[in-house]
Symmetry: D2
Subunit: 340 residues, 4 copies
Amino acid sequence: MKKINVAILGAAGVLGQRFIERLENHPTFEIAALEDVMVGKRYEDATNWRLGERMPAWVKDMKIVSTDSLSLTDASVVFSALPGGVADKIETDLAKKGFFIISKASDHRMDEDVPLVIPEVNANHLGILEEQRKKRGWKGAIVTDPNCSTTIVAMTLKPLWDQFGIERVVVSTMQSVSGAGYPGVPSLDIIDNVVPYIGGEEEKMIIETKKLLGDGKHDANLKVSAACNRVPTLDGHLEVVFVTTTKKAGPAEARKAFQKFKGLDYPSAPSEPIIVTDELNRPQTRLDRNAGNGMSVVLGRLREDEAMGLAYTVLGHNTIRGGAGGAVLVGELCHGKGYI
Amino acid sequence: MKKINVAILGAAGVLGQRFIERLENHPTFEIAALEDVMVGKRYEDATNWRLGERMPAWVKDMKIVSTDSLSLTDASVVFSALPGGVADKIETDLAKKGFFIISKASDHRMDEDVPLVIPEVNANHLGILEEQRKKRGWKGAIVTDPNCSTTIVAMTLKPLWDQFGIERVVVSTMQSVSGAGYPGVPSLDIIDNVVPYIGGEEEKMIIETKKLLGDGKHDANLKVSAACNRVPTLDGHLEVVFVTTTKKAGPAEARKAFQKFKGLDYPSAPSEPIIVTDELNRPQTRLDRNAGNGMSVVLGRLREDEAMGLAYTVLGHNTIRGGAGGAVLVGELCHGKGYI
Amino acid sequence: MKKINVAILGAAGVLGQRFIERLENHPTFEIAALEDVMVGKRYEDATNWRLGERMPAWVKDMKIVSTDSLSLTDASVVFSALPGGVADKIETDLAKKGFFIISKASDHRMDEDVPLVIPEVNANHLGILEEQRKKRGWKGAIVTDPNCSTTIVAMTLKPLWDQFGIERVVVSTMQSVSGAGYPGVPSLDIIDNVVPYIGGEEEKMIIETKKLLGDGKHDANLKVSAACNRVPTLDGHLEVVFVTTTKKAGPAEARKAFQKFKGLDYPSAPSEPIIVTDELNRPQTRLDRNAGNGMSVVLGRLREDEAMGLAYTVLGHNTIRGGAGGAVLVGELCHGKGYI
Amino acid sequence: MKKINVAILGAAGVLGQRFIERLENHPTFEIAALEDVMVGKRYEDATNWRLGERMPAWVKDMKIVSTDSLSLTDASVVFSALPGGVADKIETDLAKKGFFIISKASDHRMDEDVPLVIPEVNANHLGILEEQRKKRGWKGAIVTDPNCSTTIVAMTLKPLWDQFGIERVVVSTMQSVSGAGYPGVPSLDIIDNVVPYIGGEEEKMIIETKKLLGDGKHDANLKVSAACNRVPTLDGHLEVVFVTTTKKAGPAEARKAFQKFKGLDYPSAPSEPIIVTDELNRPQTRLDRNAGNGMSVVLGRLREDEAMGLAYTVLGHNTIRGGAGGAVLVGELCHGKGYI
């Protein structure tokens, strides 16, 4: 089968690097173009490679291209790792030209006619694409996936929402430094320290969760609170979750709901999207972030809670499930559903 | 004025070291005896000194003594840094013999006739000592102060409780490794990691908070949830707090309540027990833990909260305010009120 | 081909865990027995598994056995991850009974008739085994491999020694906490800190290097200095090396010698034992420790040195190349040479 | 006594902040002007204050000024915390205008007629100022102090040099992230990592050491090697030192030389510039960096060395002794000697 050529926007950054890692030897997609600001440079020379494994040899000599020079004959699908703010216009222009954009940027996430998708959670939201194309007169399209911290908790809220309903959720996060990109968080700010604030993050968690749990037209009706904290870890966001369900649900019933939550049949989809653990002191950031090849979330400390009803802790890999891995899975879903 | 001689139990541990630091040049108390397991050794030889400042010269040659050999003529007041479990019998025995014990151990905290005291919060609970002595037939007494994580949040709950009432509180902590003593947390467990569980800690936060906010006879009637996490910081516990007050209180009213919360007139008491900050990204563990000589808590990110009503973040120094400093302040209070 | 059954001594510790990891699906060896102090327990219950990947399922139900109960019909080869001091007698007793011991413990390393082997460096030292058996009247044997920090630098010294001779070497190390086992280094000792001393480590580097570079009978004649430091990293020892060669050698000649240093043809042997890098700021502990599946060392910053002649920096994985991986490679060598 | 008004160049950076900290309540100097790029802003608004203690209240409302607007009537002495490269022209221009510059920048350090001074080491080098002024026709002057890593080791080399002579020195450093300023080292680069290279640092250590130990006209004749490494610590540079002295010196003789090394009688000068410790595992970065109010260096692990003769480990505070504190002491020296 001929593979589908794809371009990566923002390819030299940490998130762009993860895209390259996740798309290496991919059965459906093939990297055909790498976009970033240092146009014309060899990828190796334009990049401060930050992943543990060495840069793949085949990518070193690829030349960085500009968005203007991208052509549909080169690549029809675009994974965007552009920073928020920058992404808006570039993605819109490319979608007009006919590119199918899968974006990690926040700029279009809350547009009414742009799907915000976690494949296991709300694949049906892709249906809105028809309206998007009609309304905007685009040949291409924009699909987004959520902020990393939202993705991790939303995967665990979905089965509760479907089975019991949710009145209110309180989330407190402990997020890794890779979430801020590179150079990102200065070491002077985070060694022996916790920073109790990440700009825009709490708002994203609140509004994106409601869109994700909604029916694709209207947001879900629940109350969400979030406190986002940066801690001295490299990868993996750990989130403490307190939930009041509409229909009372004890830990045993919640566990069943989590375990019944189904994996999809795509190359990047983990067989077990939510891994429930009984070990008292798990999930731990360093030990569990690579579960399911970085695509599962690990849920533990599930217990009855005095003030809210139900409490648990969940961990996910922010730059894989909450980053490039999640977006690639969205791409696979779009391909599987015939949108690509 | 002649100073009051005091003994320290568990003097060689990290908490014992903090007691020595906080009692150096104290206007009321004078260290007369150091107890620990390595009886007979010089203090310097028995101790792996872990504080940033060097061990004071005068303490190096003091000989470690056993609890059996403690005599009332040497020291009538005892600060106990004993580990939970070990403390129970030793403290009881010493109280019988006439010693006035101020204990950091959890063993007697929840005894009905033992005061659990944060001086700014519930000094009046000391009144129960009369009953304790009568009932137990002791000449001495046991007074306790709370677990470190409880102390920090309880100081901020008190003004809300008094002014608005509290229905429910949800707390998620990010606690430093010094909270586990020495050797405590192995570095292999915590570098680039978060551990989402600290044995017994959540239960303590729930029951102690209710006792502290109670009237001295009965626990306060509110719902408390806690999730306790260990993060890679050295000192300082950061706690995210969500509160539903009985009478609705916005951030502005809460702020006023926090700022009116009064400091006491004792040597270790900070003039501002709760420091409220408006900087978006404060309090931070490393930058704020020494506020008020380690005896203030720093509260920030005060905001309206969708799911619970009110949210904020508070930081305190776990081995000073939540440890030796807090206990010394209890001692000063007991002295000021004539119990010592 | 029938695999050779092996036992692991000290199987529940961090090093024992690495042995299990490295021997999983091994073409020659099959784990038949796990020894540790908690005799009779299921392996899963006896172990605080500290590696990033989860404990393999097949090992969970294996029962911990005692050294007394080990029988030659169960396993004829023994990998020892015992602590120094404990290893001496147990290994001797087992060798008497006929077991072939490959030991990571330091106890027998410097015995004249015990080979201390890095397969790429001094495979010929195995010849001394004949004398060992004759002299000691053993059916079994003891082979050792070096201390982790020694292994890493010795691999780079060997090609220099062979080609140019070495007069003096100065090594300053920056070692990870996993080198101290588990629980090992308390987090209070190492967060935001460097500890400039590791008990016994410098002596081992000095004497073991001389034995490794010797002819199997006599130590090599060179001067070695070492300063061993503990830094806040998890895995990987970084070592700064200054060398005065006997025959003058510039960086270009040294580079050729390093690159000609040959890999062996065994399952655990990396094709490139010494990877030379030109990137100015490499090797880095976290980014390079897994090179060659953790079995290569990465050498960089090769340069002329004013005071000593030649300088470079080398990194190796302390619990893989310097630990279980290195010992498994010794086992493969012994098997390949017909000793097993 | 009327204090001398001083200006700080680069006042908003981390080093500038340290200057403010060290000059608060200084008996001789008074801060009269703060220079940085955000001209016109209040100091508080222009600064991301990174020190543990809060920004002093009196400094918050000072307005940032430009170098052009600095006038001799405001401040005649200038402490420069400018970055290398930027400093060259600005400092030259100000010296021409009559300002007395004490600079932490490297730009003029190696100029023949510019003194490079550690007060305890080579106060006599100030004599060259006469030549500087004559040759350059300046009313003002430029005095520099060394790079942080150089300062720390040079203080310990001086007594050895004077008493025994030195043939060769090998230094391997473990440097904190604060050495790179703010934002400086990205946390993604240094958590769980060591970086074996710091641009320009090794060259500075080599050439500056020779100038410092020279007679003020000619460099000292010794061989110096350096390897500079960045480790995950906040403050404090730990340096492993191997020395071959000209006249043989054992550890006992070296210790005497270190202990005889005299402190000066200036406000910032520590009574004991070199603190020698016998504790096996000291100096440690976090525990010892504040010795002598951050102005002493702590030397330990003094021992005979097989390859080089003598070995030891020394620690100093890089942004105090190796930074603002060192420069303020140079200012005090210049004032004491009548140059200011």
